[in-house]
């Protein structure tokens, strides 16, 4: 259960003020470009500084050691970027086990086993270099590393932005599986993707974050028109924006 109390965070141009919410379900974060969705996500993951209080299962995040924080919250960036050109898939996935490793010691047998299983599940070629992967494959690799890290809360930052429909479908499948086991936060622009996920919705608009306990409070034509300033039509199949 993640809880934010009067959280303020700022990065470059985006500023968020007094963000307060509490949820133990999946959370989808939406909002305009540059509204501060990633800023909020990175603050929750402690990559950026913030004011206010953040708690996970009633424990303040600041009181956790770096190691247990890594086991509690993980952030998956929008794309896979690595300075090292010759890192391969297996080595990259093994890094997800770092928070579980004893200091100064090598990764354990169990860590290697977990990585092997994930490689088998995703049908990866373990010796392939990261820079030789397609964007679909590297997105899957990001999810795979999040699975090896197995944090209690995983935040995905626009994971489908660079994906074709087929890979988006694969991603959605994996996300839904993950949602059953751990808590997840998804940042996305894709209204239809958000529509298909159960859970709460956080909409960020002009420094403020609006929390929707029930997703149907968000997915109605009146609210959407107010928030996006665009007409929408909603059917069982999805949400359609009108660009007329």
């Amino acid at each position: 259960m993640i809880e934010l109390k009067d959280v303020c965070c700022a990065y470059e141009k985006s500023i968020l003020e007094n963000v307060t919410f509490k949820t133990s379900k999946h959370l989808t974060v939406m909002g305009a470009n540059g509204s501060g969705k990633s800023t909020l996500a990175k603050s929750i993951a402690s990559l950026l500084e913030y004011k206010g209080e953040m708690l996970f299962n009633d424990i303040p995040l600041v009181s956790l050691s770096l190691q247990s924080r890594a086991k509690t919250i993980n952030y998956v960036p929008a794309s896979l970027q690595s300075y090292d050109q010759f890192l391969n898939i297996k080595e990259y996935l093994l890094m997800g086990r770092y928070p579980y490793k004893s200091a100064l010691q090598d990764y354990s047998e169990a860590d290697y086993k977990i990585v092997e299983e994930i490689i088998k599940y995703f049908d990866f070629e373990s010796s392939k270099y990261l820079n030789s992967l397609s964007s679909g494959q590297s997105q899957l690799l990001l999810i795979a590393q999040a699975l090896t890290q197995n944090a209690k809360l995983t935040i995905f930052d626009e994971p489908t932005a660079n994906l074709d429909p087929k890979n988006s479908k694969i991603f959605l499948h994996e996300l839904k599986k993950m949602m059953k086991k751990t808590q997840t936060i998804l940042i996305t622009h894709d209204i239809n993707l958000a529509y298909q996920l159960e859970g709460n919705i956080l909409f960020i608009k002009e420094k403020e974050a609006l929390f929707f306990e029930n997703k149907h409070d968000f997915f109605n034509t009146k609210t959407l028109k107010e928030l996006y300033d665009v007409e929408f039509s909603i059917s069982e199949k999805g949400v359609l924006a009108s660009y007329e």
Partner: protein, 316 residues
């Protein structure tokens, strides 16, 4: 193929280094105690090889460290101003140390070491006020420029002989007598090698990105400071003895990466040994090359290394 060939050539040059020089040694005389040949071998040639070997290894792994730590392929062991600090220290000893002093290499080394350590202390002191690890880098570059400017002012204050002594120091030299200096450099290089080995997992996470390391629970700012301090101490000791030797720290990590095609953090030992053999080989070439005179080692490392480096880049 490239890898095997390169390593074989470097190994042959390194092993043959102490046997080759302006004076040719009689192999049969080496085992005769007290012979002239044996003295040359054990008092000059072998210490020089040990010094070159561990200096090369240390320079290569410090270049590797800076490039990995800051994810910037252009960094060298000298980027943080440690080297210019050492040169300034030596220059101050030469200019203000009185006429008798500048002949003594021990005083020069001491000046170099104090210079290197002052520059490191300044860096660590200022780094307390910095938020991101990469600002340390900018700070180092600024310090380096400041020391360089101070050095130029010293040039204007010095006599022709003093200027010559400073310039000679800045070109680097592996000349040594006996095992005291080689032993110091060996210890300095093993110190850094040990620390880097212990921190290999954290460095591997940093070689992806700073965020990636933070998300896995690495204390990036502590780690950066710790490794910078150890590296600066090691490099400070090295420079105070040999002067700055360029190029190795820059290119060896790249050469090793292209030869091995593996993630760079698994290549700590190859970096150390190829750097070590590369400097030993360059030293051999500098001693027997043009006109059989002792050409400054930094010039040979660049002269030999640059074309080889270009070849590797083009072939990739």
């Amino acid at each position: 193929m490239n890898k095997l060939l390169t390593i074989s050539i470097l190994l042959i040059l390194t092993i043959s280094a102490p046997f080759v020089g302006i004076l040719s040694l009689e192999l049969s005389q080496l085992l005769v105690s007290g012979s002239f040949d044996q003295n040359i071998f054990f008092e000059l040639r072998l210490p020089r090889l040990v010094l070159a070997f561990f200096a090369g290894g240390l320079l290569a792994i410090s270049g590797w460290l800076f490039q990995t730590l800051f994810r910037n392929p252009l960094l060298t062991p000298f980027t943080l101003g440690v080297s210019t600090g050492a040169v300034l220290g030596v220059a101050i000893v030469i200019v203000f140390g009185g006429s008798a002093l500048y002949m003594s290499s021990l005083y020069l080394s001491l000046g170099g070491f104090i210079g290197a350590m002052s520059s490191t202390s300044l860096l660590i002191y200022f780094s307390k006020y910095l938020k991101s690890a990469s600002s340390i880098l900018l700070l180092g570059v600024a310090l380096s420029f400041f020391f360089n400017a101070s050095l130029v002012i010293l040039f204007y204050m010095s006599s022709a002989m003093q200027t010559q002594a400073i310039v000679y120091f800045t070109m680097g030299s592996l000349a040594t007598i006996g095992f005291f200096e080689p032993l110091l450099v060996t210890l300095a290089s093993l110190l850094l090698l040990g620390f880097l080995y212990i921190r290999r997992f954290e460095l591997s996470l940093l070689s992806v990105s700073e965020d990636s390391a933070k998300l896995k629970g690495v204390d990036v700012s502590y780690l950066t400071k710790e490794l910078l301090v150890i590296a600066s101490i090691s490099i400070g000791i090295l420079i105070s003895i040999t002067g700055p030797i360029g190029f190795i720290g820059l290119v060896v990590p790249h050469i090793v990466r292209v030869l091995y095609k593996k993630n760079s953090t698994s290549l700590l030992l190859p970096n150390f040994f190829i750097g070590a053999m590369f400097l030993s080989s360059c030293d051999l070439i500098s001693r027997i090359g043009i006109a059989q005179s002792d050409i400054p080692i930094g010039i040979i490392t660049a002269l030999v290394g640059a074309p080889f480096f270009v070849y590797l880049i083009l072939k990739r």
